[in-house]
C-alpha cells in the first residue's frame, strides 16, 4: 500500500448483525481487530474469541497486599514501634486487627481493579485512529463498527474489505493512522 493506513472500518446497524459478523471475522483467523459498541454486547467476547480478562488476577494481588498491609500496620504501630497497653488488651491480636485489614483489603482491591483495568486497556489514550472516523461518534450512541488493523498478518485490502462486506458491513472505509 502506498499511504500507510491503520486498517479498515465497517459499520453495522444492529447488535445481532455485528455479532454474526464478528463470528465470521474470528473464523477467518484475524487477530488484530476489534468491535466498537455503544454498550457491552452479551456474548460478543466469545464471538470475537477473546480470552478471559486478566483483571481479576490484578485484583487478587491488590486484595492480598491490602490484607497484609492492614495486619502489618496494626502490629507494627501498636505492638512494635510504640507498644502501649490499653484496657489490658493484648498488644496484638488478629481479632482486633481484622476490621481494619478487611477494609484495606477492599480498598486495595478496588484500586488494583481500576488501575489494572486502565492499564490492560491501554487507557487513557485520548488519541486513537479509530476516533478519527467520521461517524465514530455514533459508536457511542447507537451504531456498531468492526475495525480490522493493517498490521494483522492476514490483512489484505481487497480480501479484508470483501470479508467485511460479505459479513454485512456497510460504509467500509480505510482509517488513517
Amino acid at each position: 500500500m502506498a499511504a500507510p493506513s491503520y486498517g479498515l472500518i465497517a459499520t453495522f446497524d444492529t447488535a445481532p448483525g455485528l455479532y454474526r459478523a464478528a463470528q465470521q471475522v474470528r473464523d477467518a483467523g484475524y487477530r488484530n481487530w476489534d468491535c466498537i459498541t455503544p454498550l457491552p454486547v452479551h456474548g460478543l467476547d466469545k464471538a470475537m474469541g477473546l480470552k478471559r480478562s486478566i483483571v481479576p488476577r490484578i485484583s487478587l494481588a491488590g486484595g492480598i497486599t491490602g490484607f497484609v498491609t492492614g495486619m502489618t500496620m496494626v502490629w507494627w504501630t501498636d505492638a512494635f514501634d510504640y507498644p502501649l497497653l490499653v484496657g489490658g488488651k493484648p498488644m496484638f491480636s488478629p481479632m482486633f486487627a481484622f476490621p481494619v485489614s478487611y477494609e484495606l483489603t477492599i480498598l486495595f482491591t478496588a484500586f488494583a481493579t481500576i488501575i489494572g483495568m486502565f492499564v490492560v486497556n491501554g487507557l487513557p489514550m485520548h488519541y486513537h485512529p479509530v476516533l478519527k472516523h467520521d461517524h465514530i461518534r455514533r459508536g457511542m450512541d447507537d451504531t456498531f463498527f468492526i475495525v480490522i488493523e493493517a498490521r494483522d498478518p492476514r490483512f489484505n485490502l481487497a480480501n479484508t474489505s470483501a470479508l467485511l462486506a460479505q459479513a454485512g458491513g456497510k460504509d467500509i472505509k480505510e482509517l488513517e493512522t
Binding site: P16, I36, L39, G43, S53, A97, V100, A110, H126, I136
Partner: protein
C-alpha cells in the same frame, strides 16, 4: 436455545410444558438506543431550567446553615453543641449514622443487585450511587467536627507525627475511620467507572455540536474511551469485581458503625443483634431516600419509560421487606431484654418506650414499622404521590431510630444519680438542617452536569441489544 434446553430436560418437563414467566419490561414503549441517548444527554445539553435555579438557590441557602454552624463551632469550641454529661454522644453521631445509612441503598442497588442480576437496577443505580457519595460527605461532617479541634482530625489516620504515638487499633472508632473512608473512596471509584462510557458519549456529542470546551472536559475524564469490545471485556470484569467487593464492603461498614455501640457495655447498645439490624435499617432508610429523590426526578424529566411502575414496585417491596426486618429487630430487642433477665437491659427498653423519650420511640415505631406496611397494597404503590409521602416518613423514622438508640441509652444508664435529659442546641439544629442543603446542592449539580442514568447499561437491557434471538438464558 430455550427449545434445546427443553429437549435436554427430563421427560416430565416435556409433558407438563411449564410456562415461561414473561420478563418485566425495563424500558417501556420499545425505545431505541438513540432515544435513550437523546433523553439522558438532553437533560445535560438543554438550557438550565428555571426550577433548577430556584431549587439550587434554596439548597445553597440551606447549606449555608451548616457552614455558619460549623464556623461558629470552630471559632468557639465543641461546647456549642448540646452534649453534656451523661449524653456525650448525641446528634452528631445520630446524624452521622443517619447519613451513612442513607448512602447504603446506593451501594446496595449498584453492587448487590448487580451480583443478583436484578436488571431493573440500571435505571436507578447512577443516581443512587451519587446519593451514596453525597450522603457520605454529609455524614463525615459530624464526627470530623465532633473531634473538637478539627485541625487535628488527621490524627485519626496512622500518619507519623511529632508525638510519635500511634492510633489505638483496639477501638471500634478507629475501625470506623477505616470503614467510612474506604466506603467513600470505593463508592467514588465505582461511580466513576460506571460513568466512563457515558462521559465518552457526552464528549462525542459535544464535539459534534461544536462545543469544544465541554467536549474537552468530558473527554478528559472519559480517558479516551472508544467503545472497543476488547476494553468492554476488561471493563465488565472490573465492574463485576467492584460490585463483588462493594457488597461485603457495604455490609461491613454498617456492621462496624454498629460496633461503635455494640462493643461498649452500655445497656441497649451491648447486643449482638446490632450488625444485621443496622444493615437492614440502613438499606431501609436508603431506599426511602432513593424514592424521595427519584419520584420527583421521574416526573420532572418525564422518565416514565425508564423508571417504570415495575421499578417503583421493586423499590417499595424492598422498603417493605427491610422495614419489616427492622420491626422484627425492635421486637427481638425487647424479647432479649426480658429473656436475659438483666435488670439494666430490661429497664432500658421499658424506659425507651415509656420514659422521657417515649415520644421519639413512638415516632420511630410509627414511621418504620407501620408506614411500610402500606406497600403491601398495589393501589398504594401505584400512587406515586402517596409513595413519595410514605418515603418521607421512612426518612424521618430512621433518623429517630438512631436518636432513640443513642440518646435514651446514654441519658439513663446504670446509676440514677447520673441520669440526665439531652436537648440539642440551636447550633446543632442548624448544622443538621444545613446538611440537607449540602446534599441537595451536590445532587442538583449532579443532575445538571452528569448523566443521571447509565446509558450504556440501559441500552444493554433493551430487546434490541439481545444477539441471541430473544431467549434470555444463563
Amino acid at each position: 436455545m430455550a427449545h434445546a434446553e427443553h429437549a435436554a430436560a427430563p421427560a416430565i418437563l416435556q409433558e407438563v410444558n411449564p410456562a415461561v414467566l414473561p420478563r418485566a419490561v425495563l424500558v417501556a414503549n420499545n425505545r431505541s438506543f438513540s432515544w435513550i441517548t437523546e433523553k439522558i444527554c438532553g437533560i445535560i445539553e438543554g438550557k438550565t431550567p428555571a426550577w433548577w435555579w430556584i431549587f439550587f438557590g434554596v439548597a445553597v441557602f440551606v447549606a449555608s446553615f451548616t457552614v455558619a454552624g460549623i464556623t461558629y463551632l470552630i471559632a468557639t469550641g465543641v461546647g456549642v453543641w448540646g452534649h453534656a454529661n451523661p449524653v456525650n454522644w448525641a446528634w452528631d453521631i445520630v446524624n452521622f449514622v443517619f447519613w451513612i445509612g442513607i448512602g447504603h441503598a446506593g451501594t446496595l442497588i449498584s453492587a448487590i443487585l448487580c451480583l443478583l442480576r436484578q436488571k431493573w437496577r440500571t435505571s436507578i443505580n447512577r443516581s443512587a450511587e451519587a446519593m451514596t457519595i453525597f450522603a457520605v460527605v454529609c455524614a463525615a461532617i459530624f464526627p470530623v467536627f465532633h473531634v473538637g479541634r478539627v485541625w487535628y482530625a488527621w490524627y485519626l489516620f496512622p500518619i507519623p507525627n511529632s508525638n510519635v504515638i500511634w492510633q489505638n487499633f483496639r477501638s471500634p472508632l478507629e475501625w470506623d475511620v477505616f470503614a467510612v473512608s474506604t466506603y467513600g473512596t470505593v463508592s467514588v471509584l465505582f461511580w466513576y467507572v460506571g460513568l466512563l462510557p457515558d462521559l465518552a458519549t457526552l464528549r462525542d456529542r459535544f464535539y459534534a455540536a461544536g462545543d469544544k470546551f465541554r467536549s474537552f472536559l468530558y473527554g478528559l475524564f472519559a480517558m479516551g474511551w472508544r467503545g472497543s469490545n476488547r476494553h468492554w471485556s476488561n471493563y465488565e470484569m472490573a465492574y463485576m469485581i467492584l460490585a463483588g467487593i462493594s457488597t461485603p464492603l457495604v455490609l461491613s461498614v454498617h456492621t462496624i458503625v454498629s460496633f461503635d455501640f455494640a462493643v461498649s457495655l452500655l445497656p441497649g447498645w451491648h447486643t449482638t443483634i446490632f450488625p444485621p439490624y443496622f444493615v437492614a435499617g440502613a438499606i431501609f432508610s436508603g431506599f426511602g431516600m432513593v424514592l424521595t429523590l427519584m419520584l420527583p426526578l421521574r416526573a420532572v424529566y418525564h422518565l416514565e419509560d425508564l423508571i417504570t411502575q415495575y421499578h417503583i414496585d421493586c423499590m417499595c417491596k424492598i422498603t417493605l421487606a427491610t422495614g419489616t426486618i427492622v420491626g422484627y429487630a425492635y421486637a427481638m430487642e425487647f424479647f432479649i431484654a426480658w429473656y436475659s433477665a438483666n435488670p439494666y437491659e430490661g429497664f432500658t427498653f421499658i424506659n425507651r418506650a415509656f420514659g422521657p423519650y417515649a415520644w421519639a420511640y413512638w415516632i420511630m415505631i410509627t414511621c418504620n414499622v407501620l408506614t411500610p406496611q402500606f406497600f403491601w397494597s398495589r393501589r398504594v404503590r401505584q400512587n406515586t404521590t402517596l409513595v413519595w409521602v410514605l418515603s418521607i416518613f421512612v426518612n424521618v423514622g430512621m433518623w429517630f431510630e438512631r436518636f432513640v438508640i443513642i440518646v435514651t441509652s446514654l441519658a439513663r444508664d446504670f446509676l440514677p444519680s447520673s441520669w440526665g435529659y439531652y436537648s440539642p442546641s440551636i447550633v446543632e439544629i442548624f448544622t443538621f438542617f444545613g446538611t440537607f442543603g449540602v446534599f441537595s446542592t451536590l445532587f442538583l449539580l449532579f443532575i445538571r452536569f452528569l448523566p443521571i442514568m447509565p446509558m450504556a447499561e440501559l441500552k444493554a437491557v433493551t430487546p434490541q441489544a439481545d444477539v441471541h434471538g430473544g431467549s434470555d438464558h444463563h
